[in-house]
Amino acid sequence: MADTTTTATLTARDYNSDIKPIWCPGCGDYSVLLSISKAFAELALAPENIAVISGIGCSSRIPAYTNCYGFHGVHGRALALGTGLKVARPDLTVLVAGGDGDGFSIGGNHFLHACRRNVDLTYLVMDNRVYGMTKGQPSPTTAADWDSALAPGGTGVRPFHPLVIALASGANFVGRGFSGDPNGTARLIVEAINHPGFSFVEVLSPCVTFRPDQREWRKQVHPAAVDETDDAARAARRIMTDDGFNTGILYRGARRPFDTEGLTEIADVAELETEFKL
């Protein structure tokens, strides 16, 4: 966690910008934004010591809605941006945020390698199992049989399981929250930010426009019946029997984070250019 320079007590509202979100009313992402703001306030982080990085999609609009530093990057590349920033500025708290399409399809390869690399940042994915911004195409986490106008009869393709992939790829912290429980999700984000290394948090966040069926998630979500573990093998066994609606911390590992101290410091652009001379 980065040091703070703000001494006055900040409330969740202090982390919000003046820009009003343009998400659909009822969208789960509003509550995720609230959870993030509550987590920052609870950690007493100064906004100028936080960077919120995103890619493309409805949820990736989130940096604009905070008053922290932000970078609304290109599709699927949020983790590459966040990793670079954290390596260059390890003093910052870096929160990378986005959706399931951006993170697991366009940015899927970055996700695997960010887990492997274990740089000390937090990756929060607002998973609504649909491409909402582009009008409802199935995403990597959509069930194979989800029938829609754009995929009649469903894709027939097995959905991507983010927690399994994160765990298998080496993420040092793996958890799941639900937008309908903003206080529980705030706690999860606090724990993720505080834990060293790459922390992955999936937040089930309903898309009320293209997946109105997801309003039922409120009744389906439940706290995991078992406590978190630091044993990856045990976590793997648990996640393989997951119903997709368990919330809480699955795994809190002890892998050493990527060491930024040993990297050569490059002071300016001219010096950087010499590294690329043919």
Partner: protein, 172 residues
């Protein structure tokens, strides 16, 4: 939450204050949503509801006096549901909602708040908590009456109120 869960008056006031602040924040959020989605009448209504709740929060803070309120992390509040009782569910908003729907959500929130204070008043063994909880029950009853009066002026809309001739999900 029951009266038995509250260790002392400052913790009770911290819960009451958080409940009013969160209700105000939710109404403020809804007001913004309606403004963005060109529903100015409901935006204005939610903004007014937010002001009322914010004022109520300030009054509760004033009761705490110079000692202020104890700090509790968001997940340390002991609510009977995932959010504080007066907070309207985040997913109850719709871009075509009418004042009737907004007032129904507000009425539900006021009733939950009233029940919350009433339960505390009945279950606590602390006389100071009971006295303030009873006062807050009366205040919430006043809010219920106010919202009910407003609701009388806004009859329930037709069943097709959410039908949109140009819906956001249209593919053609």
């Amino acid at each position: 939450m029951s009266g038995a869960h509250i260790p002392d008056l400052p913790h009770f006031l911290a819960h009451a204050h958080a409940m009013e602040v969160e209700a105000a924040e939710r109404y403020r959020l809804f007001a913004g949503q309606m403004e963005v989605h060109n529903n100015p009448e409901v935006a204005d209504l939610f903004a007014r509801l937010a002001e009322i709740e914010a004022r109520h929060a300030e009054e509760i803070l004033a009761r705490a006096g110079d000692g202020g309120l104890p700090h509790l992390a968001p997940w340390e509040f002991v609510w009977s549901a995932v959010e504080s009782p007066e907070t309207a569910p985040a997913d109850c908003a719709h871009y075509l909602m009418t004042p009737y729907h907004a007032l129904c959500a507000a009425l539900d929130g006021e009733r939950r708040a009233c029940d919350f204070y009433d339960r505390i008043a009945r279950e606590t063994e602390d006389a100071a908590i009971r006295r303030i909880a009873e006062e807050l029950v009366e205040e919430e009853r006043g809010h219920i009456a106010m919202v009910s009066t407003l609701l009388d002026r806004h009859p329930e809309p037709d069943a097709d109120w959410s039908e949109d001739m140009d819906p956001p999900g249209a593919l053609e």
